[in-house]
């Protein structure tokens, strides 16, 4: 739980209060819809968090560093997109990692790609995305985001 969580909960509580004042039956219906949807996707959430645990154990920061450090050359942004896309950690975690990689002579392009792919690609949430929006949407967006993270990373490398 961080500050943004509390702000979010606060906002929802205020909305719930306003909604209850305006119409009790409608609020009840809203909670029912929310609960039903939550119940429907709960098994899926549990599976995703199980997967996150597995990846955090199997994919060590050391491995990431070995691929993105100096010596990977032009392939570094590509590896960065693959690693970043598979990452599951909180967004805050990638910034210190990226800075550390820079001190290890990783390229600006690779680190920028990593920062972008970390949040924008979402390979782990891909099954969820397929479930909500279908394979065509999810795979198209995933592929586009993957390519885009490399393009933006290379652009950053040129501009910095």
């Amino acid at each position: 739980m961080n500050l943004t969580d509390y702000i979010l909960i606060g906002i929802v509580l205020v909305l719930l209060a306003v909604s209850t004042l305006k119409s009790r039956p409608k609020t009840k219906k809203a909670l029912k819809i929310g609960a039903k949807q939550f119940w429907n996707v709960l098994p899926f959430f549990v599976a995703v968090f199980g997967l996150i645990g597995l990846l955090e154990v199997l994919l060590t920061p050391k491995m990431v560093q070995a691929w993105l450090g100096s010596g990977s050359g032009v392939l570094a942004p590509f590896y960065a997109a693959v690693f970043g896309g598979m990452a599951t950690g909180p967004p805050a975690a990638v910034f210190p990692l990226g800075q550390y990689l820079l001190t290890q002579h990783a390229s600006v392009a690779a680190v920028s790609t990593l920062l972008i792919a970390w949040v924008a690609v979402g390979t782990v949430t891909l099954p969820a995305e397929i479930r909500f929006f279908g394979a065509r949407f999810a795979l198209s967006r995933w592929a586009l985001a993957f390519v885009l993270s490399i393009v933006l990373g290379l652009t950053m490398g040129m501009l910095m």
Partner: protein, 180 residues
């Protein structure tokens, strides 16, 4: 039996992850236990956020009428709708998986595909993280990176609309209560 098959089709990941854990537990029990505990920790850290998201989804579906969404985020909303979506994405919080139900509700209410894509794209911009990024990488890097990400939403949206075609959104319209 039929019900289980349908459930499994939607939730196949449950079986895959369960199988992976069984293999891990048999071969490397210590690491399996660590993975499970990390998974539980992540889940616990996010459960409050997920719950609030679904309360919000319910309220959203009851109170926001379709005309409002259609007017501001619908097929005729043009670049203004995209900009509104892109702005909305930067303030959305929590994991992407928590944002999906909300986007689905938006589609059901008549939002344009491109607007939803713009929201997902700029969701990658974490406004609260920008001070951290500036401190670690400097102003130029942080502003350039987030600026490029914001602009990319306007590239992603038309590309996705082109890739999926016109009829794609139809199946989402109406029937917002199913959550499939």
């Amino acid at each position: 039996m039929n019900k289980l098959a349908k459930w499994s089709k939607q939730n196949w990941l449950v079986w895959v992850v369960a199988a992976a854990y069984i293999v891990m537990a048999l071969t490397r029990p210590a690491e399996a236990a660590r993975a499970a505990s990390l998974g539980v920790q992540t889940f616990v850290a996010l459960i409050a956020t997920l719950l609030t998201v679904f309360v919000f989804v319910g309220l959203f579906q009851v109170w926001i009428n379709d005309e409002f969404i259609m007017k501001h985020l619908g097929e005729q909303s043009g670049i203004k709708g995209l900009a509104l979506g892109a702005g909305l994405g930067t303030v959305l919080h929590g994991p992407l998986i928590g944002v999906f139900p909300l986007l689905q509700a938006l589609l059901a209410k008549g939002a344009k595909l491109g607007v939803v894509v713009a929201i997902v794209s700029t969701w990658a911009i974490k406004l609260p993280m920008i001070p951290l990024e500036i401190r670690l990488f400097g102003w130029k890097f942080a502003l350039l990176r987030n600026g490029l990400l914001f602009v990319s939403a306007f590239v992603m949206a038309p590309m996705m609309e082109w890739a999926l075609g016109n009829g794609w959104v139809d199946r989402f319209r109406g029937a917002p209560e199913e959550g499939t």
